[in-house]
Symmetry: C2
Subunit: 383 residues, 2 copies
């Protein structure tokens, strides 16, 4: 299948490109290096330098024999979106091309309005128009987030909610209520996609993903030149990745407030398989198919305790420190999200075992000298 990955340079984009090309798909990636640019602006370098897309593609081809096409440009500009679609006619699209950080979206006005709202919505809008114009039967796999749902006091179903009210019934898109501006732009993406699915009959899979962890996939092996763009800072690092780096350098694990915040997590290897399974089993024309993409739920305290315990087995001294919560969020809440759709498609989950965590810590230890302690904590306040 010809697959176009928008946002092909990011933490998930590049590993997805390798995974899909290793599976025999013909892959192209598009990116404007926004994540790299923002990391430079905010002085949050990744754990190790990663080559640019052209270099990684050359390296990957020399190792695997698989070619990946590269388009560098800004997908918020229609001209570039059009150019990509005219020279590569995708049969499947993965849309990762968004500013992906909740704390970054709360940093300041420019981060919020230009780099998050404008960036994310223009890419999604241009994509919708490109698919309509050039390939209306092409399946879009969009990365949403479990954060769109927030933490309601009732069960979270997969995308939809059947409401019975005063004796009548209606199925709604599950009501969404997010905890950051970034997550709110993902809700707005969902609003847009759902409108054009109903109106133009687009075919879309929206993956409500939980926080991802890990830096090694089947294709990276131990080769850091192929590993993902791995941030460990508060802005761009997801919580477990950050805790592991903190453990390695003896920086107390920063738990926000009570630490009772529960989320659904998954290994980056599972992300790649969820995306692949969605592409290989596409949504129907005129269908918005929604999957909740995570495999296990943990509270922040449970994650911190796991990292502490496994770190101590490896001889690290790991402290846990609760700090005043800079976010506006419930620290104790009901959380019971469903997640059966991807399992039914064939996902074989990787669980967060002690062995997995231990391998992750050992990989990070190799890069200990690169870690910039000052980048870890910024205290970006929601208010």
């Amino acid at each position: 299948m010809k697959i176009l990955i928008l946002g092909g340079d990011g933490y998930l984009g590049w590993p997805t490109a390798m995974r899909l090309s290793a599976r025999g798909h013909e892959v192209a990636v598009a990116d404007n290096y926004l994540r790299r640019k923002l990391c430079k602006e905010e002085d949050t370098a990744p754990l190790f330098e990663v080559p640019d897309l052209y270099e990684r593609v050359r390296l990957w081809e020399s190792l695997s024999g698989h070619k990946v096409r590269v388009f560098i440009g800004d997908l918020t500009q229609w001209d570039f979106m059009e150019e990509v679609f005219k020279s590569f006619s995708p049969e499947g699209i993965v849309h990762y091309a968004e500013q992906p950080s909740a704390p970054y979206s709360m940093l300041h006005r420019r981060a919020a309005i230009i780099n998050t709202i404008q960036n994310n919505l223009l890419v999604t809008s241009n994509l919708i128009y490109a698919v309509k114009e050039f390939c209306p039967e092409t399946h879009i796999v969009k990365i949403g987030t479990m954060g769109e749902y927030g933490t309601p006091n009732i069960d979270i179903e997969e995308g939809w909610l059947d409401v019975e009210y005063k004796g009548r019934k209606q199925r709604f898109l599950y009501p969404r209520q997010a905890g950051s501006l970034y997550h709110t732009t993902k809700i707005m993406d969902t609003d847009l996609l759902w409108f054009y699915v109903r109106t133009w009959g687009l075919r879309v899979t929206d993956l409500m993903q939980g926080p991802v962890y890990g830096l090694v996939t089947e294709e990276t092996g131990e080769d850091e030149l192929l590993m993902p763009f791995f941030n460990y800072d508060e802005l761009f690092g997801t919580v477990l990745n950050r805790f592991v780096v903190q453990a390695v350098i003896g920086y107390p694990l920063t738990v926000y407030g009570g630490g009772g915040q529960i989320r659904g997590y998954l290994n980056i290897k599972d992300t790649l398989n969820c995306v692949r399974l969605s592409l290989e089993n596409p949504a129907k024309q005129g269908e918005l198919r929604i999957f909740n993409q995570f495999v296990e739920t943990f509270s922040v305290n449970e994650l911190a305790e796991k990292v502490q315990r496994v770190g101590q087995i490896l001889g690290l001294k790991v402290e846990i420190k609760s700090i005043e919560n800079p976010r506006v969020e419930a620290e104790e809440h009901y959380y019971n999200p469903s997640h059966t759709g991807l399992i039914e498609l064939g996902l074989k989950p990787h669980l967060l075992t002690d062995e997995v965590l231990s391998q992750m810590i050992e990989t990070v230890i190799k890069y200990k000298e690169n870690i910039n302690k000052d980048a870890i904590f910024r205290g970006v306040k929601w208010k």
Copy 2:
């Protein structure tokens, strides 16, 4: 009260400015004349030329003694938003500054992405940041639309829905599902405002307004120079305004499809009072207060029959013609929306009586020579 009206040149903006200044409020208006520009581009002139804001303000002052301040510029640009807030510190804000047409938003890519999504969301985002930075206690009155709800098969409550599910309870923002891109950007506005109300404690009233009709208010009298920017075309004219103009020139009333589409309507005089009542009785800090702003529901067929009957009494020959529905919408549906909040605040509704309709037709007859038949119907298709 010092009140800033964003979008002060539009169909509702200018009449609101007069209404509020006549009530003794200190009023400023801001606009970039986007509506006028789009009407020129699409060749959809209003029923009569209206003077620009500076001229109308001079005329209004000479007649009433009330001063209104004018800011001309583009609110999607932060610099201009900042300039307005620095030189006029509002205690209340009315936010009308959006591309307001559903069919226009479905016209082509530029109309959709640049003039609707980008325009509407950047104004709302800049407004949110301006209020946070310059006047966090200022009450925002935002014009939303009943169209955000769509036509669900259960009762539409005012903004919120109490869901009971598997023995647990949660109050959600009422799930929204709109019928055009324009209406979808209003949902996205609601997503944004609700996030920042929860996070920053903004105070916001969101008015879910139905289609408005009428061209005379308490302040316009019969003076066309003070009357609203009145479109009668398919792009920018609301349905009843359009039907009245069609009746006057013997153009068959264009009913889309079966004509069973039911909506909640209101007279422009009621819009002005709803906005005024909301401002004079503000939401609390940290509250998103939502009112459904309409006074009566009619199907399109009922509206057409009313116009036909009253038109015939006035000696007009009025035909009704059903055409293939260019929109994607239910033509027969359940519709039971609540609307008690504004009545409780003191709204005294103006109903669509034969007398009201007859006066409206007679006013339009005065401008019969101005009507451009070719502008009325464009057949903008949703698909």
